[in-house]
Amino acid sequence: MSRRAKLVWLAAALVALLFPLVAARPTWQNTAILMLMTAQMGVAWNILGGYAGQVSLGHAAFFGAGAYVSTLLSIKLGLSPWLGMVAGAGVSAGLSLLVGWPCFRLKGHYFAMATIAVGEIVQAVVNGWEFLGGAVGFYLPLQEKGFWGFVFNRSKLPYYYIALGLLAFSLLVNWAVARSRTGYYLRAIKDEPDAARSLGVSLTRYKQTAMVISSALAAMGGTLYAQKELFIDPGSTLSTSLSIKMALAAIMGGVGTLAGPVVGAVVLTAIEEASRVAFGGTGRGTDLVVYGGLIVVIAVFQPAGILGLFASRRGPARAAPAEAPAKEAA
C-alpha cells in the first residue's frame, strides 16, 4: 500500500467510526448500515469474482446458508447467533466445496451460468423443505437480547458497529489473501490460466480456496442480515437478485481491488435509497428507472469501476491491483 492509500483508508475508517455519532437520524444510520452490509457482501464476492476472476451469480446461496444456519441453531437449540455465524461460515464453506467440484470444470460464462443454476436450486430446495421453514421462512423473536444474543431493539448503533466490524474483518481477510502466495496465484489464474497451469499452479485447488474464503465471508453477512431483520425467507436471502447485487457492488466499484466493493456499495446504496425516497411512492417505478439508468451510465463511461476514476491519473485502470507485487519485488 502506498502512503496515500494508507491515509485514505485511515480517513475512511475514522469517518465510518464517527459517522453514527454525528448523524443521529435513524434513517441515516440505517442507510449507513445497508451500505456496510452491501460492502461486506461485495468484498466477499470480490475474492472469488474479482481476484480469481470466477464470476459467481449464485452467491446468495452462501449468504442464505449463513442466515439459515444461525437462525436454525438459535431457534431450535437456543445457540447464540455468534456461534451460529461461525457455524454458518463453516457450512457455507462446505457447500462451496460441493458446488465448486462440478462447477470449476467450467470456464468463463459457463461457470457463471452454472452458479446461477446452483443459486436457483438452493432456493427451490429450501422453498420445499419444511424443516428449513419452506416458503414461509423463520421469524426470530423481537426481544432485546444484548450483545451475546445479537438482537438490539433500542438502538441501531450495535448493528452499525457490528456491520462495520464485519466489513473490517472481511477487508483484512481480503488484504491478507491478496498479498499472500495464493493471492498471486489467483491473479495469475484470472489473467493467464494456461500460463499459470504450465508453471505448476493447480487451477482447481486455488479457485476452490478462493471460493471457500469468499463463501464463508458471505455467510457471515447472511447471519448479520438475519439478526438485523429478524425474518428470513427464500425470497429475501436466497434470490438471484441478491447474488447480482453482490456482484454489482464489486463490479461498479472496481473489480479485483480492495476498496472497489466498498466504494461500489456506498454509491449503489446511496442511489438506491435516494431514488426510492424521492420517487418510490409514485408507484410508477421511476426510482428503479433512475437506479438502472445510473448503473448503465457508470458502466458505459467507467467500465473499470468508480475506482478507475482515481487510478487513471497514474496510468491504466488495471494498475491498482498490480501495484502490490511491484512493491514486494522492490
Partner: protein, 420 residues
C-alpha cells in the same frame, strides 16, 4: 447538517404559528402506507394504493351518502377536522426494504400509524419496525396466520387469516347439512406440494377430523406438473363426495381438463381460492369452469345485499375504471378502520391510537366486507372476520355462502360432464 436544520426551523415556525392559531393547529394526520408498487406485484400494489386513497378522500370529503365510518366527515371531527393524508411508500416485494421504509415513514414523515404491506413477508418486517418504535400498524390484507401469533402490542389485522378460510369451507358444509339436509362425508384432498397447498391440506385434515368427515384420499403434486392423469385416477378410485383442492392457475386448469377427460365427477369440487379464482381460469375453461365452488374474501355480487358496496364500487370505477376485488376492498376497509380509531382516540399519540384500536367495534353494516364487523382480540386479530364461498354459475362467480349474503342458491351436486 444545513439541509436538515432548515426543516427544523420551519417546524419551529409552524409550531409557533400553531400556538397562536389553535384552530389551525392540526390540519393533517399522516398515515404511512407501504405497498409493492414496483416488481412482480406492482399492478396489485397500484390497485391497493388507489383503493386506500379513495377511502382517505371519502373521509376528507363531504359526500355523506355512504354508510361507512366517517365517510363525508370532511376530516377527523374529534381532531378539529384534521384531514387524513396517506404517505405511500414502495417496498418492492423485499422485507428489508419494507422495514427501511417503515422506519423512514415513522422517523422522517412522522406518521401517526402504518398500514400495508400485502405480502406477508414484508408485513412481518415492517411491523417489527413499528413494534420497535411503538407505532400502531394496521394490516388489512396479509393472510399468514403467524403474523398475529407473535405477541406484538402494536399490530392489528382486519382481514381473516388462512386458517379461518379453511375453517369457512367446513362451516359451509355444516350449514349445507343443517339447512339443506345434504350429507357429504367422504373428502379427498388434492393439493400442490409447496407451502400454500401443503399448509391448506394439513388444516383441511384437522378440520375434517373435528367435523367427523372421512379423508378417503390425499394427493400432493408438484405445481408445475405437465400431467395429472395418475393423480386424478387415484382420486377417482377413492370415490369421494367432495374434492378439496388447492392449486395455482396452471394446475387448476390442467386438473379440470383431466377430470373431464377421465369423466371424474365428485358431488362437489370445493377449491381453496388461488388458481380457481384467477380471471384467467374462467377465460380458459369457459363452460367447463362452471359449478366449481371456491372460497373468496369478497365478491361484487355482495352489493345486492349491501348497497354501500355498489356505491363505493361506482366511485372506484369512475376514478380508475376497475371494480373492487378482494384485495382492494380489504385495503379500503383498513384505512376506514384506522381513521375511525384515530378519530375516536382524539389524538395522534401512539398510545391513544393503540388503546382506541383495542376498543374498536365497527358494525357489519358499515363495511364493504362480508364480515360480522371489526373487533380485535388480544393478539390484534379481527375476531369478526369471515370469508365467503362462491360458485361459478354460467361463467360468473356468485356468492353462495353465507346463506344470508348469498346472491344465488348453490348448485349441488356437480352435474356430470355429458349433461352440461
Amino acid at each position: 447538517m444545513n439541509p436538515s436544520r432548515r426543516p427544523t426551523y420551519l417546524a419551529a415556525a409552524l409550531v409557533a404559528l400553531g400556538l397562536c392559531l389553535p384552530a389551525a393547529a392540526q390540519e393533517e394526520i399522516k398515515i404511512g402506507v407501504i405497498y409493492p408498487l414496483t416488481g412482480a406485484a406492482a399492478s396489485t400494489g397500484l390497485e391497493l394504493k388507489n383503493a386506500a386513497q379513495l377511502a382517505a378522500d371519502l373521509i376528507n370529503g363531504t359526500d355523506r351518502s355512504l354508510n361507512l365510518p366517517l365517510a363525508g366527515a370532511g376530516g377527523l371531527p374529534k381532531l378539529k377536522g384534521a384531514k387524513l393524508k396517506l404517505v405511500f411508500a414502495d417496498h418492492q416485494g423485499s422485507p428489508q426494504v419494507g422495514a427501511t421504509e417503515a422506519e423512514r415513514l415513522i422517523t422522517q414523515e412522522k406518521v401517526a400509524a402504518l398500514s400495508g404491506c400485502y405480502f406477508s413477508s414484508v408485513t412481518t418486517t415492517a411491523s417489527q419496525t413499528a413494534e420497535r418504535y411503538g407505532v400502531p400498524f394496521l394490516n388489512g390484507e396479509s393472510s399468514s396466520p403467524q403474523l398475529t401469533q407473535r405477541g406484538f402490542k402494536w399490530f392489528f389485522r382486519t382481514t381473516p387469516h388462512d386458517e379461518l378460510f379453511v375453517q369457512n369451507a367446513f362451516e359451509f358444509l355444516r350449514d349445507l347439512e343443517k339447512k339443506k339436509g345434504l350429507k357429504p362425508r367422504r373428502i379427498a384432498i388434492l393439493a400442490e406440494n409447496t407451502e400454500f397447498g401443503t399448509g391448506a391440506a394439513k388444516l383441511q385434515e384437522k378440520y375434517a377430523k373435528e367435523g367427523g368427515y372421512e379423508i378417503v384420499e390425499k394427493v400432493l403434486y408438484p405445481p408445475k406438473s405437465t400431467q395429472l392423469t395418475s393423480e386424478v385416477q387415484k382420486l377417482k378410485a377413492a370415490r369421494p363426495d367432495i374434492v378439496m383442492q388447492s392449486s395455482y392457475l396452471g394446475d387448476a386448469i390442467l386438473s379440470m381438463k383431466t377430470y373431464k377427460e377421465l369423466g371424474f365427477v365428485p358431488t362437489a369440487l370445493v377449491a381453496n381460492n388461488a388458481g380457481f379464482n384467477d380471471s384467467e381460469f374462467l377465460k380458459t375453461m369457459g363452460k367447463d369452469g362452471d359449478f366449481v365452488i371456491s372460497r373468496e374474501v369478497w365478491a361484487l355480487d355482495l352489493a345486492a345485499r349491501k348497497p354501500v358496496i355498489a356505491k363505493a364500487n361506482e366511485l372506484l370505477r369512475a376514478r380508475h375504471q376497475v371494480d373492487f376485488n378482494g384485495n382492494s376492498a380489504r385495503a379500503f376497509t383498513a384505512i376506514f378502520a384506522l381513521a375511525e380509531a384515530i378519530n375516536r382516540a382524539g389524538s395522534t399519540k401512539p398510545e391513544d391510537i393503540q388503546k382506541a384500536l383495542r376498543e374498536t367495534n365497527i358494525p357489519a353494516d358499515q363495511l364493504i366486507m362480508p364480515w360480522g364487523g371489526i373487533q380485535f382480540d388480544e393478539t390484534g386479530q379481527n375476531r369478526k372476520g369471515a370469508g365467503i364461498i362462491i360458485q361459478v354459475q354460467g361463467g360468473q362467480k356468485v356468492t353462495v355462502w353465507p346463506f344470508d349474503l348469498a346472491g344465488k342458491d348453490v348448485i349441488w351436486p356437480f352435474p356430470s360432464w355429458d349433461k352440461r
